[in-house]
Structures are given as structure tokens and as C-alpha cells.
């Protein structure tokens, strides 16, 4: 079945594959989406995971009718009081809300649910996301901290908190949150690269220990490359961070300081990153269709290569 293969390599931030998946909704849901009883008898956990994915994809692509069918099926199987189903229903209502008043109504509903059961994790997360989309970042941060106080082992929530802090310009808090997420999932190269990016940004904001932060960002980019051989973002960040460090003469100020690598190492790292970046850009440009989802990254990498080539 082609649909199941597609779901496996669906990428969360990838609109194209979400669109492909949503177009298969009638096939997956069957000829009669309202007839949920036949599905509930045969469903396995995997199948319902697929329906959940499909629900998200349908919402993103505007196919509200199929999304409603998915939601019906899930709540038929697991009951409307299942926490995860409640979270998904909240998501559906938010997505189909027409105006701000409707969103406020969603928020009130969440608060009512949480006053009944304060540890309803999916609803807590929905509330944070809703507060964020209502442009109330301070409240969102507060709610998220409350959630993390109770569930300090939730990497997803730590990442979201880091993102929120970063949008508020609180770099050191964002860095702390991402480190906390990494402590839970120490081998995720994308979080390593993201942490490197945050460190890079905060080192460029002119704080006094800029060289230390820049050195740490280089370390985290290196680690993400170590964990994933051809990670475009890691190489991009490495090239950017090393060239910045070379420009600003951070290197070799105090050789005793461990996070700051020597000038020679920086030079070599930069050339290595640029070389690999060039290779990746070349190979992915040939196979354009396959990498369609990350085209913007590819364009940014090309642009960086041009810029650094001109500077030399």
C-alpha cells in the first residue's frame, strides 16, 4: 500500500509531502468515511497513528471535511474523553476557527478542561500553542514553565520554550532550554545544530563573552555533523560560525580557554565545511525532485557559498 510508505517518510515541516498525504485521504479513510464501525473492529495502534497523521495533514492543506472524518473515527475508537483525542479536537477547532473570538472561546474551553484535570498534557500543550498564536508570548511562556515544572522530561516542550524565549530575545534562557532538551535526547543532531545557531546568534549580539559562545557554537555544529554525516544545516552553521570567528580574530586570544579552538583548526574547519557544503549542494541540485522539500535550505547554502567566495 503506497500510502503507508508515504506516511513513514513524512516530514513534520514539509508542506509538499503533507499535501501528497492529504490527497490520499479518501483512499485511506475508505469509500464511506462515516461508517466508522467497520474500521474500529480491525484497527491496530499503527493504523490509528496513520489516521492521526492524516488528520494533521488534512488540516494543514485545508481539507477540513476529511479532518473531521479522521477525528470522528479516532473519537469513535478511543472515546471523546481520551486525552489525546481531546487535544486533537482542540487542534481541529483552532484550525477551523474563523476569527479571534472563536480562538478565545477555544482558550476558555481548554481552561475549563484543565480545571477539571490539571494534568491533561495534550490540552496543556494546545493551550500554550494557542496562547502563542494569540500573540500572548509571556502567558505562553508562563504556561509552558508550569507544564515543564510538572513534566521536566518532555523534550518537545523544552524545544518550544527555547523557541519562545528566542522570539522574545532572551538568548541565554533559550540556550538553557535547548540544553535541557538535549539532555533528554542527547543524540539528536538537529537540536545540536539548533543550539549552535542560538549560540551563534547570541555571540553576535555583542556580549562580553562572545568568543566563548562562538566557540561553543562551533562545538555543537561539529557534534551535529559527527552525528549526521551530510546534515546541510550543520555544515552551513559551521561555515558561518568559523568564518565569523576568523574575521573577528577570536581565535588564539587565550589559548588556555578550552572552547576556543586555534586559528589553524578554525581554518581547516571552515575549508572542510565549505567543501562539503559545495558537494551537498551539487548532488542535491541534480536530484531536485527528491530534495524538493528542503529547496529553501539549498538556496540559502548556495547563497552563503557565493558570499564567502566573493569575500575571499
Amino acid at each position: 500500500m503506497g500510502a503507508s510508505a508515504d506516511i513513514r517518510d513524512i516530514n513534520g515541516s514539509d508542506l509538499i509531502s503533507a499535501l501528497h498525504l492529504a490527497q490520499q485521504a479518501p483512499v485511506i479513510l475508505g469509500p464511506n468515511p462515516m461508517n466508522a464501525s467497520s474500521a474500529s473492529s480491525t484497527g491496530t495502534a499503527e493504523e490509528y497513528g496513520r489516521i492521526e497523521q492524516l488528520l494533521l495533514a488534512c488540516l494543514r492543506t485545508g481539507d477540513d471535511q476529511s479532518a473531521q472524518a479522521c477525528l470522528d473515527r479516532l473519537s469513535h475508537r478511543f472515546g471523546p474523553s481520551n486525552e489525546r483525542v481531546m487535544g486533537l479536537r482542540g487542534l481541529y477547532q483552532e484550525a477551523t476557527a474563523k476569527d479571534r473570538a472563536a480562538l478565545e472561546k477555544c482558550l476558555q474551553e481548554y481552561e475549563k478542561i484543565l480545571s477539571e484535570n490539571p494534568v491533561n498534557v495534550p490540552i496543556m500543550k494546545r493551550r500554550v500553542a494557542l496562547l502563542r498564536s494569540l500573540d500572548r508570548p509571556a502567558d505562553a511562556i508562563f504556561a509552558l514553565i508550569q507544564l515543564l515544572e510538572a513534566l521536566p522530561t518532555d523534550a518537545e516542550a523544552w524545544c518550544e520554550l527555547a523557541d519562545l524565549y528566542q522570539t522574545q530575545g532572551l538568548s541565554s534562557q533559550a540556550i538553557f532550554s535547548l540544553e535541557e532538551a538535549l539532555l533528554i535526547a542527547p543524540n539528536s543532531w538537529n537540536i545540536h545544530a539548533r543550539l549552535g545557531e542560538l549560540l551563534y546568534v547570541s555571540s553576535s549580539s555583542g556580549e562580553d563573552d562572545a568568543s566563548r559562545l562562538a566557540g561553543k557554537s562551533v562545538q555543537h555544529f561539529c557534534r551535529s555533523i559527527e552525528l549526521c554525516d551530510d546534515y546541510l544545516r550543520g555544515f552551513y552553521g559551521l561555515a558561518l560560525a568559523t568564518s565569523r570567528m576568523i574575521e573577528n580574530e577570536h581565535a588564539g586570544e587565550r589559548p588556555s580557554d578550552p572552547p576556543v579552538p586555534s586559528r589553524i583548526t578554525l581554518d581547516r574547519l571552515k575549508r572542510f565545511a565549505l567543501q562539503r557544503l559545495g558537494e551537498i549542494v551539487q548532488s542535491r541540485s541534480v536530484d531536485d525532485q527528491h530534495w524538493a522539500s528542503s529547496r529553501s535550505e539549498l538556496i540559502a547554502a548556495k547563497e552563503l557559498l557565493n558570499r564567502l567566495a566573493q569575500a575571499q
Binding site: A45, Y48, F78, N82, E83, R84, V85, N117, P118, V119, V121, P122, Q146, E149, A150, L151, P152, T153, D154, F176, E179, L182, L183, I184, P186, N187, K216, V218, Q219, H220, C222, R223, I225, E226, D229, P258, P259, P261, T265, R268, L269, R271, F272, Q275, R276
Partner: protein
């Protein structure tokens, strides 16, 4: 003693096969299936935490363990020390506990603590599911079929197997290859696991495995603490583990390592 080299022959009514061997096997398989479904029905999923403080108590320990296991891959010395001090202080003064005021008191009696009671009921139910059918079937076999010799194994065995294969038949001279009805029951009891695996799927409850809820949130459901255990003691233990931990970081020298492993030609 049995005469060596001479085949022992016992005249058996072939009806023994249809009326003893076959029924025992069928009954054993059916009870296994029945037990599976009874366990699934009576199984109560672990209770999710009902307050935020309770959830924090459950996860704080995991946080300490995570820090201990994963700090070398992520943190530099400064942030490691900060986290370590925070967690150790929190564990020591009991601020992660669900109820800091109750600290130092002996753990609640599991008989009076409703949560502990529930867990004990769960265990009791599980044990009952195993015990009752076994007792019933064994007494059934003892009452109706004791003393029958019902089959002959097609291969020779040493004398040690006599107690295993011929329980209920007190005959010293009988060849070990003859199997009594009670022993056939025991063999079924031990040997049917793979049959259940075939019929019910690999994670069936007939072999006492816990059934997982399909849509449960695993992070929220997980409870690292057994009922009756004092979380305060666990926290103090974890604080000690954290304190003696020596910091090192695999990020030190990662630049040279990457260059050496991935780009030996870039000079």
C-alpha cells in the same frame, strides 16, 4: 528392574487417546485463551498522576538520571555544575516531593494508601488469574484421570525424567518413555507458551505480559516508582549519585575529532 534391551509393551485402549490426551490438551489451550481475555478485561491501566505536583515527583528522578547519563554529551562544565547544584539541592530539601510537609515520616501503609491498595489489587488479580484455573484443572485431572498412562514417547530418556513424566503413577519398573496424565498436564502448562504466542500474538497476557494501552501517552503514564517506595529515599540516593559524578565533556576537542574522522585530506 526393567529388562534392558527389551521393549516394554503395555496394551492401551486407543480410547485413552481420545478421552484423556486430547481433552487435556484442548482444555489447557482454551483456558490459556480464556485467561488472556480475562486478564485484558480486568487489567486496569496505571493511573495517571492527578495533580501537577504528583507528576513532578514522578519525573524529577528521571531528570537526575538523564543528567547523569547524558551530561557528557551536551554540557560544558559551567552549565553542568549549575544543573547539578540545582538538582542536588532540590533532592536534598525535598522540594520535588509531592507533599514536602510529609517528609521524613514513615511511608504510608500500602493497605491504607488508596494508590498502593489499587496496585496491590492489580497484582492480586493477576495472581488469581494464574492460580484459580491451575488449581481447578489440576484437581479435575486428579479426580478423573489420575493413574492413567496415556502415551509413549518415541525416543529414549534417562531415568531422571521419571519424576517429570510419570507423576501420579507409582511404578518403579515402568519405562521412562511412558507419560502419565498428570505429567501431560504439567508438560502442557510449561510448553504451550509458543502455541499461545501463535494464537494470540506475541505480547499476549496468557504468558503474564502486561497489555499496553494503545493511545496512552507513555511519558505521562510512566511511573518509575513502585508503590510503597519512599520517593524521598530515592531522591537522596540520586542526589548522592549526582554529587560524586565527575564532569567530562565529549565536546572538548570535537573540532579536531571531526577533522580527523571526516576530512583527513583538508590540511
Amino acid at each position: 528392574m526393567a529388562v534392558q534391551g527389551v521393549e516394554q509393551t503395555i496394551l492401551r485402549d486407543p480410547a485413552l487417546f481420545y478421552w484423556i490426551l486430547f481433552p487435556i490438551s484442548v482444555v489447557m489451550i482454551l483456558t490459556g485463551i480464556l485467561r488472556h481475555y480475562a486478564t485484558v478485561l480486568m487489567n486496569t491501566p496505571p493511573k495517571p498522576p492527578s495533580t501537577l505536583a504528583e507528576s513532578r515527583e514522578r519525573h524529577a528522578l528521571l531528570r537526575g538520571v538523564n543528567l547523569r547519563n547524558h551530561a557528557p554529551a551536551v554540557l560544558d562544565r559551567e552549565s553542568f555544575e549549575a544543573r547539578k547544584n540545582y538538582l542536588v539541592a532540590g533532592f536534598r530539601d525535598g522540594s520535588f516531593l509531592k507533599d514536602p510537609n510529609n517528609r521524613g515520616q514513615p511511608p504510608a501503609n500500602p493497605m491504607t494508601d488508596p494508590q498502593g491498595m489499587e496496585a496491590m489489587m492489580g497484582m492480586l488479580k493477576g495472581n488469581m488469574m494464574m492460580m484459580i484455573p491451575q488449581t481447578l484443572i489440576m484437581s479435575w485431572i486428579n479426580a478423573f484421570f489420575s493413574g492413567f498412562v496415556i502415551l509413549k514417547l518415541p525416543f529414549p530418556l534417562t531415568i531422571r525424567f521419571k519424576s517429570m513424566l510419570q507423576s501420579g503413577v507409582m511404578t518403579r519398573d515402568l519405562d521412562v518413555r511412558w507419560v502419565s496424565s498428570l505429567s501431560w498436564y504439567f508438560l502442557n502448562l510449561m510448553g504451550l507458551q509458543s502455541v499461545f504466542g501463535f494464537i494470540l500474538g506475541s505480547d499476549n497476557a496468557a504468558n503474564q505480559m502486561a497489555q499496553q494501552m494503545g493511545m496512552a501517552n507513555p511519558a505521562a503514564m510512566m511511573n518509575p516508582m513502585q508503590p510503597g517506595q519512599d520517593p524521598d529515599k530515592l531522591f537522596l540516593n540520586e542526589a548522592e549519585n549526582l554529587e560524586v559524578m565527575e564532569h567530562f565533556c565529549i565536546l572538548d576537542g570535537v573540532e579536531e575529532r571531526v577533522l580527523r574522522n571526516f576530512a583527513p585530506e583538508v590540511k
